[in-house]
């Protein structure tokens, strides 16, 4: 904080100059405003989704191009692909936080035009509010949608119990371990009982044991609520163990390369155990051979650019 106090001692004007909006919004056609659709899970339909950014140099850069993909209501769909291929970008378009340059996203039949209710998003980066306690973090969703604090508090306490964090409600995020923070984020995402759950490498930074526990927990919670899930991961075991469908994306600019249906029976129980089933291994092998080319290509691309 020493740095911040310095800037008070010497009040230097921060740069007030403008920085251009980096997004190219090509779409301004007739769109229906977002409305609430039924409480249950919703279908996610991406058609010809393309997103271009303006790089700092001023050139357009295509992050994803022509992504077409459907997630059935209540389906668990994993997206895997080489780094930088546009997975997070795809999720941002589905959430309505960004507008696609071309193509459409529909959630439950409704065109996504802005942030839509009933969508929960676990971001790739840590996104708990550091100034809120664990309890306040989990309560933020219900409070923002108009639930009185008196009802939101017991609800949040119940969700903290479900993710195994009873007794930690008064801590601040910096007082938790990385795995605990992910649990809080999971409770904060699920407390709104979303129709759509977007998860961007939620367990990417965790150790193997914690990851396995969290995956099993996620599956249990998902089976209670059954939202449609878009789940980004680099871990093929995780993708196969959790999902009904695995989508492979090509290297940049990303588009859908392959779709694999995972016909392992549900409920899957402990993810640690199904890893050793022969059918699991076979599916995992097929997916890896499809992904391998893309990873190689992406690596060569970055190496050539450097």
């Amino acid at each position: 904080m020493g740095q911040k106090r310095d800037s008070g001692l010497v009040p230097q004007p921060p740069s007030l100059c403008s920085q251009d909006d980096r997004e190219v919004n090509a779409m301004a056609d007739t769109r229906i405003p977002p409305t609430e659709v039924g409480a249950a899970a919703a279908r996610i339909e991406l058609v010809g989704l393309t997103k271009r950014f303006i790089t700092p140099k001023g050139d357009p850069f295509t992050a994803i191009s022509d992504v077409t993909l459907t997630v059935e209501p209540g389906q668990f769909c994993a997206i895997v692909g080489p780094t930088g291929c546009g997975k997070s970008t795809t999720l941002a378009q589905v959430s309505g936080l960004e507008q696609p340059s071309a193509g459409t996203v529909r959630v439950g039949g409704q065109l996504v035009q802005g942030v839509t209710r009933g969508v929960s998003y676990m971001f790739q980066a840590d996104s708990l509010f550091p100034w809120k306690t664990v309890l306040q973090n989990v309560m933020t969703g219900p409070v923002l949608t108009g639930t009185p604090k008196r009802q939101a508090t017991p609800l949040a306490l119940d969700w903290l119990r479900r993710v195994g964090l009873s007794g930690f409600e008064d801590r601040y995020p910096h007082q938790l371990s990385g795995g605990m923070r992910k649990r809080v984020a999971m409770a904060a995402a699920l407390i709104n009982e979303p129709r759509i759950l977007l998860m961007d490498e939620p367990f990417g930074a965790l150790d193997v044991q914690t990851k396995a526990i969290m995956q099993t927990e996620l599956l249990q919670l998902w089976e209670q609520l059954r939202p449609s899930v878009l789940f980004i991961t680099h871990d093929l075991d995780e993708a196969v163990a959790l999902s009904d469908r695995v989508v492979i994306m090509t290297s940049s600019p990303g588009t859908v390369k392959d779709v694999f249906d995972i016909d392992l029976p549900r409920p899957r129980g402990d993810v640690q155990d199904i890893r050793h089933e022969p059918h699991f291994q076979e599916l995992q092998g097929r997916i890896w051979s499809s992904l391998k080319d893309e990873v190689d290509r992406a690596y060569r691309q970055t190496a050539a650019a450097a």
């Binding site: 008070g8 230097q12 509010f129 100034w131 306690t133 933020t140």
Partner: protein, 289 residues
């Protein structure tokens, strides 16, 4: 055997904690010893040099005379009524300037920080205003608004405003966009974004600026009083200066230093209460171990 192995680490824990406590106490003692030593050396040296005539006490004052003058300020009073009356006026000016300047700085800083268009429109004007020497502003205010408390409050507020404004502005600009995205997905309106993310996040910066801002408020009030006033510590200072009485000037400085230290302490309390969510600074954690 089991009992021994169970108590052994416990004993060591107790030792560790006691050692840490002792080390901390020793540390603090030495800091205070150092502080007192600096004061004794400085004041004693000053007293000595003015007594033996190396420094002329007519120009530089003398600690014992400063003390006498301090006592007489509180017992006899001043040419403009009791010291408490004058001190009350100055503190009131500084406080009001501090409050108005902080409110304006926070509101305008957050507004311009979160609105690119407004910040582009206003940035040249703010830079121009910020480059005007404050003492010139003080003269203008006194010419325009007379010798009452108004221009003092105004000058203090202007000084405070810029300190707080730039920090609030920067604080808003530094908001983690991830958190903004998160709160928007959770259903926040732009008011909700401000309430749940922008303001708490900028608060770190704003509170940091309040420490210096209160100093500026005192300076603003004093300078404006020196430039022209009917009451106040600044008036006593300028009067003493006119009568070649450095001791009273120093005595007034001591009084204002005490006020500033008190205010600084209150702001630190406020900071602790508002920013208790912050992880401790590393040196604090190390001290705790």
């Amino acid at each position: 055997m089991t009992a021994a192995s169970a108590t052994l680490p416990l004993d060591r824990d107790v030792d560790l904690a006691a050692n840490a406590r002792r080390a901390r106490a020793r540390n603090r003692t030495w800091v205070w010893v150092g502080r007192v030593l600096v004061a004794v050396l400085f004041i004693g040296g000053w007293q000595l040099l003015t007594s033996i005539g190396v420094l002329d006490k007519f120009f530089y004052g003398q600690p014992s005379a400063v003390w006498n003058s301090l006592v007489s300020l509180f017992t006899v009073g001043t040419a403009f009524g009791s010291i408490w009356l004058n001190l009350g006026i100055t503190v009131q000016e500084a406080l009001e300037g501090f409050v108005f300047g902080t409110i304006a700085g926070v509101v305008i800083g957050i507004l311009l920080g979160s609105n690119r268009y407004l910040s582009n429109v206003f940035s040249p004007y703010i830079k121009v205003l910020n480059s005007i020497p404050r003492i010139v502003l003080g003269s203008i205010f006194i010419v325009a608004f007379g010798l009452g408390v108004g221009p003092k409050i105004l000058l203090a507020a202007v000084l405070v405003f810029f300190a707080v404004f730039f920090n609030a502005f920067q604080g808003v600009r530094e908001v983690d966009q991830n958190l903004v995205a998160n709160v928007r997905v959770l259903g926040a309106s732009s008011f909700g974004v401000a309430r749940h993310v922008t303001i708490p996040s900028a608060m770190t910066w704003i509170i940091a600026s309040l420490h210096t801002a209160f100093g500026f408020a005192i300076i603003g009030a004093l300078v404006a009083e020196v430039l022209g006033a009917q009451l106040g510590i600044g008036l006593i200072i300028s009067q003493a200066q006119g009568q070649f009485d450095p001791d009273t000037v120093f005595a007034c400085m001591v009084i204002m230093a005490v006020v500033t230290l008190g205010a600084e302490y209150l702001i630190t309390l406020l900071e602790r209460a508002l920013l208790k969510w912050r992880p401790p600074v590393r040196s604090d954690t190390q001290q705790a171990i």
